[in-house]
């Protein structure tokens, strides 16, 4: 053993002698490399050596000792005769040079030298791979990169595909196109051209390699060049197009990408059409070619082609529209001449559609010289894609349609039929996707009756996702006739009776439908409300969801159709008043003729009466201005004013959903101000509202500091004892400092505020005694002005509603003690940031036990922007009860703030929190997000 160690030391000294002697690190930390060396020397057979290397590779190596290890490995590399061991060493070299903090330029020479004597192709390929890694580590060492490129060019003529692959990869990752290669490296495959060539042309030579893997690698290398921002020349376009008909799937797949890249780079350049003397834009040509690939033999290529089509927005409209045309296309490229247009006319009857018998007898024999069925591949590409056997292809085709339709209204109009057809696809995912897509392009289109019919048929689908997506779609849909409205209403009501849980979604859908088509709703109002010119009809039941649905439709239509209210009967007005109050988010404000304002709140009299958003905003502004006139909260009447303002703001929030967030925020803020003397959580303010600006956050923090100061004073007064106060003081000062750190930029806005004063006094505060500090605080608090709120612009209140369970059921959920029962929860969340991590479900048992459940990320769905839907299951369990009792289920919003981070330990999954106060229990670090829902449960004792 000792002999070995001596040997190591000798070797290490030799190594260090060759190098700069200052590198002592290797001598101080010889363990790793030394051990490796010993192992390798011990190894009697290649298998042993391999084992050592494998186990060595598992351990990390420090950056300092990498070079030493590399030298040892190299030394063995030269000695080793077994290919597999050399291969492993080569791969280890690559691995090592990736070590963080190690600059591999010192081993470049050695690595390149190893190439010269290597005979085995596999090892050679691996070594080139290692060089590739080294090269990517040193992108800015131009000399090194140039050498590597030279090496790659030299080995490009290898007979082994792996070596050529790696060389191409190297060229792709490191090569540059603007600089020609030096002359001596100019060794193409046989083509000993004398002129200087750049990397691109070298790579493109391998587009015709005999090995498909090399061809793929060549295209990939080219794509790599492109990704690195090199300008690819257009010259390879023809070659790339030829590769589209390669025998091998992976080549075609890469070639499709290549053609696409070129079409994005040179959309406007002109290419000739083979077999004719005409020319078209490159993007059109490549579009046709990629369209062709939609009917490729391999579905992987088909998916890729369909996807890429979606991003070719520059393509000419007539090419685009062909993709939906499966009829014989009589070469639209030649459409420019009148003669050819005439030919097209009578060639269009050439093929029958298969819908009618015997309409396929060939009419006249056309002069088919110009008719090109296959080469003009754009024809019907999407028809093929949408009919593909694999649903992956169909989905990509639907997505591509969407993206193209969004940029071209005329195309959107054309693809409508196809998308509507997709609603009947056999795979739900495809149906869902096509519904979403139709929603996205719905601004461009108007549905015809038959199309609507097909769309509405999907309302009976048993899948909730599909139905909801469809409701969402109907919200944005334009329809053409009043029959369509009626049809939609009938189907929606059918849907409502079949699936009562869809209530909210259906109502909302009708709201938009009504608001969008007032003129279409107008003629059918009497029918909808079942009014009669002479007879009084019975008053419908106000609690009937279907009746409410009809009213929502009518009222929303009436908003922009002043003649409509004339058709209402008396009870309709009453119902309006009721609904306006109870479902204010669904029923808009109406100016009703000959009637007094139904809502008689003082608010509306003071300016919101018009119901318009603008005036409401003005009102909000006014209120804030009024409040800002207050200088000090202690002025007599100031508190009253605040209270009134808060009330007004809250009411405004209820009436104007658009401003609810802002109004609520202001109200809560003012409320906090009012209640400064009490214990209050300010967390709500900061975390419950999204879209707050820093200044506003700073304001909240200011208030928080004030509260904390108050708290401090209170402690100091009530509990004499310096120790306790001392700790509290220190904490307070820390808070002040962190405030200063966080909101440095906002400080100018805090003229005359508590914080400003506090910061002025800071030097004094840190040195003085706790009791003095309390005194100072007291005076500052009294002197500090009231910071006025700027009208917040984009504030949304995070909110959640639990739709299910409804809490109305009287039947207890029975289960056996000790086992679990799953409770389905369905809730909508609005304006919650990052719901996956922040929303929890709390279950509160009557005995005060509280469980927090973290829903799975997959349970959150996003039906629309800003809205999230949580459909999850929570598991309940409890010991036996004598009778059924209610538990409370609610959603919580978890937050982490600077202040609460230290205190609130993250609650673990399902961690129970015993002994917390039951009613107002709020787990630390969370805010109540929804109202609690009560669920009857009944754990029964197990029967034996």
């Amino acid at each position: 053993m000792s002999a070995h160690i001596n040997h190591v030391v000798v070797v290490l000294q030799q190594v260090s002698l060759e190098e700069v002697p200052a590198k002592k690190l290797r001598l101080t930390k010889p363990s790793k490399s030394a051990a490796l060396h010993i192992d390798l020397c011990k190894a009697t057979s290649p298998t042993d050596a391999l084992q050592y290397l494998l186990s060595f590779a598992r351990r990390p190596v420090e950056a300092e000792s990498v070079e030493g290890v590399v030298r040892i490995l190299l030394e063995h590399y030269y000695k080793e005769s077994d290919n597999s061991v050399r291969l492993k060493i080569a791969s280890l070299l690559g691995l090592l040079s990736k070590t963080q903090g190690f600059a591999p330029d010192c081993i470049v020479d050695d690595a390149i030298n190893t190439l010269n004597n290597e005979k085995s192709h596999q090892v050679l390929a691996q070594l080139l791979g290692t060089l590739l890694i080294i090269g990517t580590q040193l992108p800015d060492k131009i000399a090194v990169v140039q050498r590597l490129i030279d090496v790659a060019c030299k080995h490009l003529s290898s007979t082994y595909f792996g070596v050529r692959n790696k060389c191409l990869q190297l060229l792709g990752c490191l090569g540059t196109v603007d600089k020609p290669l030096s002359k001596e490296t100019d060794a193409g495959p046989g083509a000993q051209t004398s002129h200087v060539r750049d990397v691109q042309s070298v790579i493109s030579d391998y587009f015709q390699d005999q090995d498909p893997r090399v061809r793929t690698a060549a295209i990939k290398a080219m794509l790599q060049l492109h990704e690195r921002g090199m300008k690819i020349q257009q010259t390879i376009y023809n070659q790339a197009c030829k590769l589209l008909s390669d025998d091998y799937e992976q080549v075609r797949s890469a070639a499709v990408q290549m053609v696409w890249v070129l079409s994005q780079l040179y959309p406007e350049s002109i290419v000739p059409i083979p077999s004719s003397n005409e020319e078209i834009r490159l993007v059109d040509d490549s579009f046709g070619k990629i369209c062709h690939m939609v009917s490729d033999g391999s579905w992987v290529v088909r998916v890729q082609a369909a996807k890429l089509l979606g991003s070719m927005h520059q393509v000419s409209p007539h090419f685009l529209e062909q993709t939906l045309d499966k009829k014989l296309m009589s070469d639209l490229r030649r459409k420019r001449t009148a003669h050819e247009r005439a030919k097209e006319l009578y060639a269009s009857g050439e093929f029958s559609s298969g819908r009618r018998w015997a309409d396929d007898a060939p009419k006249e024999k056309v002069d088919t010289s110009g008719v090109n069925l296959i080469d003009s591949g754009a024809c019907g590409a999407f028809v093929h894609g949408l009919e593909d056997e694999m649903y992956e292809v169909r989905i990509s085709a639907v997505e591509a349609l969407c993206s193209l339709a969004q940029s071209s209204p005329s195309f959107a109009e054309k693809c409508l039929d196809f998308l509507v057809d997709m609603f009947n696809d056999e795979i739900e995912e495809v149906r869902l996707q096509s519904i979403h897509v139709l929603r996205q392009i719905s601004t461009h289109i108007t549905l015809r009756e038959d199309q609507l019919d097909t769309v509405l048929a999907v309302l009976e689908d048993s899948s909730r996702d599909i139905r909801e997506a469809l409701h969402e779609l109907l919200c944005y849909t334009n329809v053409s006739t009043k029959d369509c409205i009626q049809l939609a209403l009938v189907e929606l009501l059918k849907n409502l009776t079949k699936y009562p849980t869809d209530r909210n979604s259906v109502w909302k859908c009708l709201k938009f439908l009504g608001a969008r088509h007032p003129t279409l709703v107008l003629p059918i109002v009497p029918e909808l409300l079942s009014t009669h010119p002479y007879f009084d009809t019975p008053e419908p039941d106000m609690d009937d969801p279907a009746y409410i649905a009809v009213l929502v439709l009518v009222f929303n239509a009436a908003k922009s159709c002043p003649t409509m209210p004339a058709l209402f009967s008396d009870h309709t007005f009453r119902h309006y008043a009721y609904l306006r109050d109870s479902l204010s988010h669904l029923v808009p404000h109406l100016r009703l003729p000959g009637r007094k304002q139904t809502a008689s709140s003082g608010l509306e009299a003071s300016g919101v009466g018009s119901g318009s958003l603008e005036s409401a905003q003005n009102f909000l502004q006014d209120s804030l201005v009024r409040v800002s006139a207050l200088q000090n909260l202690e002025t007599p009447g100031a508190q009253d004013l605040l209270e009134f303002t808060i009330r007004d703001l809250l009411r405004l929030g209820e009436l104007q959903t658009e401003l609810a967030g802002s109004a609520d925020f202001c109200a809560t803020y003012l409320h906090c101000q009012l209640l400064l003397t009490k214990w209050l959580s300010f967390d709500d303010l900061e975390f419950l509202y999204s879209g707050l600006e820093t200044q506003q956050i700073a304001t909240i923090h200011n208030v928080r500091l004030q509260a904390k100061a108050l708290q401090l004073i209170l402690t100091a007064r009530s509990k004499p004892g310096v120790d306790r106060v001392l700790g509290a003081c220190e904490k307070f000062l820390q808070d002040v400092e962190s405030f200063q750190r966080l909101f440095m930029t906002e400080l100018p806005h805090f003229q005359d505020s508590f914080v400003e004063k506090l910061l002025e006094l800071m030097p004094r505060l840190t040195t003085c005694k706790p009791l003095d500090l309390v005194k100072i605080l007291q005076t500052t608090l009294r002197q500090s002005g009231f910071i006025h709120l700027k009208l917040p612009e984009q504030i949304h209140r995070a909110s959640a509603t639990i739709i299910e369970p409804t809490g109305e059921s009287d039947n207890p959920l029975k289960f056996t003690t000790g086992l679990v029962v799953a409770l389905d929860i369905d809730a909508t969340l609005e304006h919650v940031q990052d719901p996956q991590t922040s929303v929890k479900v709390q279950v509160l048992y009557p005995d005060g036990q509280s469980h927090i459940i973290h829903p799975k990320p997959g349970d959150f769905r996003t039906p629309g922007p800003g809205r999230v839907r949580l459909i999850t299951q929570v598991y309940l369990s409890h010991s036996a009860w004598t009778e059924a009792c209610q538990i409370e289920v609610r959603l919580l919003l978890a937050y982490s703030s600077s202040s609460s981070k230290q205190s609130a330990s993250k609650p673990a999954w399902n961690e129970s929190m015993d002994g917390l106060p039951t009613s107002e229990s709020c787990i630390e670090g969370t805010i109540h997000l929804s109202k609690p829902v009560k669920v009857f449960i009944m754990p029964k004792p197990a029967r034996r």
């Binding site: 003529s157 007979t159 495959p189 046989g190 083509a191 015709q208 005999q210 025998d247 009917s295 033999g297 499966k326 009829k327 014989l328 050439e350 093929f351 029958s352 559609s353 298969g354 819908r355 009618r356 018998w357 015997a358 396929d360 007898a361 060939p362 024999k365 088919t368 010289s369 090109n372 069925l373 296959i374 080469d375 019907g380 028809v383 949408l386 009919e387 593909d388 056997e389 694999m390 649903y391 039929d417 196809f418 057809d421 997709m422 009947n424 056999e426 795979i427 097909t454 048929a457 009976e460 689908d461």
Partner: protein, 594 residues
Amino acid sequence: MPDIKVTPLGAGQDVGRSCILVSIGGKNIMLDCGMHMGYNDDRRFPDFSYITQNGRLTEFLDCVIISHFHLDHCGALPYMSEMVGYDGPIYMTHPTKAICPILLEDFRKITVDKKGETNFFTSQMIKDCMKKVVPLNLHQTVQVDEELEIKAYYAGHVLGAAMVQIKVGSESVVYTGDYNMTPDRHLGAAWIDKCRPDLLISESTYATTIRDSKRCRERDFLKKVHETVERGGKVLIPVFALGRAQELCILLETFWERMNLKAPIYFSTGLTEKANHYYKLFITWTNQKIRKTFVQRNMFEFKHIKAFDRSYADNPGPMVVFATPGMLHAGQSLLIFKKWAGNEKNMVIMPGYCVQGTVGHKILNGQKKLEMEGRATLDVKLQVEYMSFSAHADAKGIMQLIRMAEPRNMLLVHGEAKKMEFLKDKIEQEFSISCYMPANGETTSIVTNPSVPVDISLNLLKREMALGGPLPDAKRPRTMHGTLIMKDNSLRLVSPEQALKELGLSEHQLRFTCRVQLHDPHSDNDTLGRIYTHLKSVLKTYSIQHVPDGTVIVESIVIKVTSSAEEPNLKVILLSWSYQTADSTATKKKKIQL
């Protein structure tokens, strides 16, 4: 030149009775053995006497391949194998093998039991015939014998339909049978790799049709059925028991479920249950959706579709009935049609192709009065709709398949002559390959250029590699030197030395000689000496030797001087060089002259 010969016995410029003879590389293969629906006499079956007048077919045929179980592709099989006589192998896919005998038995029953025909094959014959069947798997290469191999590809069309590649040496033929390039509710699309056959034999039923998207057709179909049912009318859909029937069943079943319709759907004949059983079994042959969902629910277990009883046809109220056969030429569908034809509320939907001469063909062409047996006429008042649900490739599909397979020649069968003509022009112009469309009994021969495989010795290759030059490229020819040995039915290319050794021959050297006469008074030796010195001065770069025995050697060239006895001054210089150095010698000679 070697060639491939194709003779259609049926299906040449015609639909029905598919039977095509192919001779390739000395092998004879029969592709499909079908019957014609339009005839009840001898024309029903292919004319096997074309192959041999008397005696069995076994010695003339190497194998028979059946593409799928439709009767126009397999109907004559028992007749051929048992009554004419064939004992060789019959290839078909597993589902075809399972379903084919059911259909044959059904066909036999109708012909023998109902029509009372004699001299027809018996049940036993069907069984005996099926014993000769060898099942095929998709993409499995089966060696029929040492040289002939066949391989099946998925064809869509019906369950178990296959396209077959037949290969002898490097010559190959692909026969498509019936195929479909657009997937449907229960089957996938036909697929073939780029096999570049010498000949692609394709069906061309819909040669002049480019169909609308299948979803349009489906929607139209459902709408028509729905409307008629809502009106209280009855819908008759004549189908063949297997294939489109299942497709339409799935379509209607899902529609009924979605729309919650109550009108009954019936399916005639007990065949269905047996057949549906096989559809459930061979779920791997269906499309992606059915394959993926069958764990939850097998799509072929219908909820709304019940078995039909003859008495139901007179029931009041709406109903939908699937009845066989599909062309309304006989059987239950014709019976029901006769019953319902008088009411204009009713509707018949022909979901596929109808052969000339069938009732289906007549009504589709708008005939309002039909002559029935016994001079009775039938007024056709019900609505007649046509909806192409045939799972055949349309023109675009055929083109797509050609593009996929890249054949060198094309041959169209199973279609109407006029339409074929049109497609033929199209193919020739699009792909610039020659396209044929032989009539029945007409032989087409296609000249092939088969490659002859030769083994090359590794040493020779290595030597060639060592010479340098560009890398070998599979797509470019390259010349090299070697000796071709043809021995024991094999070809080998070896180096000349090895060839000599192997064949036990000694090497012969070929030398060129040339005599030049000179007038020179010197003696022979002096003349030679002078030549030597002269050459030495002229050819400085070559090694020139003066050998004592009276010759000068310039590399491989030997120079001798002789003089005749009678004229000593006339010297004859003899030049001799070997074959290999012929070129360089010529140049050197020139230099000497100078």
